[in-house]
């Protein structure tokens, strides 16, 4: 029985964390205060990290937590703390486009799931290959995908330039 349970444990955890992610996403839409929304997002991201771990891509799980939660969301939380103003967006959470938005999103979800449904059964259990071990992954990454890596570094340069530009604008406004 334990074996049966253990065999299903993975699935159980998967379902649990998936549900947690979706719940976090849903809460994001509904909660009023931005700080709480940020916390919901953090919880979603952590659940996703757990899912990645369950799937076996451990380094991605690690990066998920490190970069997304540790850098992006921390930055976000700082800004919320800086800027949390009680302005009309606090009183009225939703824009004018609530109903059309819900309808559109539901339609999108419906179409996508319905389209993907026949193929879902084909998503078999993952293979046990060790492609996603860190060593193998790094080798593949820097051997075959070095070009993409370099291109992204160009993007990062652009980001740095943009940051400097923003500072200049900032300075210019101040005086």
């Amino acid at each position: 029985m334990i074996d049966g349970l253990l065999g299903h444990l993975e699935t159980l955890f998967l379902v649990l964390f998936a549900g947690g992610a979706v719940a976090g996403g849903a809460l994001m839409i509904v909660l009023r205060q931005p700080m709480r929304v940020a916390l919901a997002l953090i919880s979603t991201m952590l659940c996703l990290g757990a899912i990645y771990g369950l799937l076996g891509v451990h380094f991605i799980a690690a990066f998920q937590v490190l970069i997304y939660v540790g850098a992006v969301m921390v930055f976000m939380v700082y800004v919320i703390m800086l800027l949390d103003v009680r302005d009309p967006s606090y009183a009225g959470r939703f824009s004018r486009l609530l109903v059309p938005g819900i309808a559109g999103a539901a339609a999108l979800l419906g179409v996508l799931v319905y389209a993907a449904w026949p193929d879902l059964a084909g998503l078999a259990r993952p293979s046990g290959a060790a492609t996603f071990g860190l060593r193998e992954f790094s080798a593949t990454f820097l051997n075959e995908y070095w070009l993409h890596f370099e291109l992204v570094s160009v993007l990062l340069v652009a980001a740095v330039v943009a940051a400097i530009a923003v500072i200049k604008v900032n300075r210019g406004e101040r005086g």
């Binding site: 991605i60 930055f75 824009s95 980001a159």
Partner: protein, 97 residues
């Protein structure tokens, strides 16, 4: 495993809904992050299923880009909020007409 794809689709849709529906600009940014996460999940799912490293590489790069993006987006929003003196998206209508 066949659960994860709908989950990622749901996360993406919820993120898009949040972008359209919420009035606070910071919340909107966070919903965009949610969309990215949904996409990441679908990429990882497929990478695992097809045993391809390409998906994982893409996820990796998305992390990088997302971080850079948020690093620039937040200051922009800051400046915008300071000039408009509000975080309400209804006030940001300079693109009108």
């Amino acid at each position: 495993m066949h659960l994860l794809l709908p989950v990622s689709l749901a996360l993406f849709s919820l993120g898009l809904l949040g972008v359209i529906v919420r009035r606070n600009v910071l919340v909107m940014l966070m919903c965009m992050e949610l969309m990215l996460n949904g996409v990441n999940l679908s990429l990882v799912t497929f990478a695992r299923q097809l045993d391809s490293a390409a998906g994982a590489v893409l996820v990796f790069l998305i992390f990088v880009v997302a971080a850079a993006e948020i690093a620039i987006a937040i200051p922009i929003v800051l400046l915008l909020a300071r000039s408009k003196r509000t975080l309400d998206l209804a006030a940001y209508t300079d693109l009108k007409g």
